[in-house]
Amino acid sequence: MSSQTAKKDFWDPEISTASRDRIISIQIKNLKDTVKYCYNNNAIYRKKIDDAGVNPDKIDDIADIGKLPFTTKDDLRDSYPFGLFCTPLSQVVRVHASSGTTGNPTVVGYTKEDIDIWANCIARVMYDVGVRKDDIVQISHTFGLFTGGWGFQIGTEKLGALVIPISGGNTERQLKIMADFKSTVLVNTPSYTLYIAEVAEKFGIDFSKLHLKLGFLGAEPWTEPMRVEIEKRLHMKALNSYGLSEIIGPGVSCECLEQDGLHINEDHFLAEIIDPDTGKSLPYGSKGELVFTTLTKRAFPAIRYRTKDISYIYTDKCPCGKTLIKMAKPMGRTDDMLIIKGVNVFPSQIEEVLLKIKDLEPHYLIVLTKENYMDQIGVWVEVSEDNFHEKLMDLEFFEKSIEDKLFSAIGLHIKVSLKEPKTIARSEGKAKRVWDRRQGGN
């Protein structure tokens, strides 16, 4: 792997170095096709397009996308599980689902062709930054309904490199395999990457003697100082990888070695920025909500899917040679979704669990902290005369029983802390439910 060869060597050179005009003509063709396809194959999409008063045969210009209706997470939930699929299930070969949302999870499907597109998108972002057949790719994302692990699995296989699908957790084994198998590429969340570094240092493992060169990190927000820390401690270049299951999973966009913005695979995903309040399209360079339309997917094509991620899109003359448009690393959310250890958590999910617990006051505060560079989530609840048992054991049991209920609903260990009454601020109107204490060091 060398950045010298990577500079002029692309997986899909005709796409990655295409002119703007060429990209836009591909996008118009595929947008027309996608809109017609959705209209003809899915009743929900047809109704939405009709309600918006759009003639699916009259999409002539890329700007026409602004007439199309948005798709939201609620649309997916309301049509749970397969209502927005545009192919019969017999043609769907894979489903994934987003981790935790209130009520139903959001389920997405892939045809065999969709899987190929996905693999190609990931192979492209990996190859274009220098990953080659002789690389050894350790995937420390969880494998399961989460798209992170599987996306990189098939992308790496498509590229022809060796995959170690080690999945998450068991840090000592991660390190042993990293050393013994001579892993050169790490696919992981940034927070777990830092934790691996921490454990390695405890065991006296020197990363300069290991073989890691490159990390594709994503599935949660992270900061520039965190990147500096990761690169320094793991002796590798850390790249930001972006994706979401509703669009395809990882492979929507990824940084090049310039580490200045994420190139979007825009032959498959058309990006827009909108004003989250008015829904109006914003010009390049304006900060707003990122919206994607898939241009080639078949089982679950998304028309103007609102990601709720805040970013901006722009073109530049990237020294890497790629001409694909860029998005800035997402800088926040338009909703209150938290991403903890790669799991999406909405405060409302926690509330739903807590309010069902007998004898618990309806006051709670979600507290976010950092421990070993990992985001930790806890929740404060108040003792009351009804739940106060005079034995310590009973109180600990009470805490544990709430933690168990939260775990089974959300799939995340959320530490419960009992507090004295009135510790949690009451408010009129919108209560402050989340206290973010992650800033300011570890």
Partner: protein, 131 residues
């Protein structure tokens, strides 16, 4: 007669125990003895006071979570083997003690699941039970 024991939930924070003591002083309530047990982030304070109901009322008004539980209070002989004598009686009767603490120097407060039974066993063994 079992004694009334006042239990208070306390967060592990500087000054919380002092606050309880201040409230009792202001209400002119005498503290005969107490014990604390601590967990990760909080503790339980157990008190035996001169006026349990008033103490509870005052603490509640100040925002504390309280609970009243019954416990047995007995006199321990103030000499070597005094404690052993009591514990031996209970062990022989297979009575498990949930917790125990000393108040007023020579009195033990015991929490057990069956108070009347334990009291009668102690009485049979000539242990002085305090009110």
């Amino acid at each position: 007669m079992p004694v009334k024991q006042l239990t208070v939930f306390l967060e592990n924070q500087t000054g919380r125990l002092a606050e309880v003591a201040r409230i009792l002083r202001d209400a002119d309530i005498n503290l005969q003895g107490f014990s604390t047990t601590e967990a990760r982030d909080y503790g339980i304070l157990r008190l035996v006071v001169s006026d349990t109901d008033t103490a509870r009322q005052k603490l509640k008004e100040a925002g504390f979570t309280t609970h009243i539980a019954e416990a047995i209070c007995i006199k321990v002989e103030d000499r070597p083997g005094g404690l052993y004598k009591i514990l031996d009686i209970l062990a022989n009767a297979k009575i498990n003690i949930d917790y125990v603490y000393v108040i007023a120097g020579t009195k033990l407060v015991l929490s057990v699941s069956d108070i009347p039974k334990t009291e009668s066993i102690l009485r049979e063994n000539n242990v002085v039970i305090c009110d």
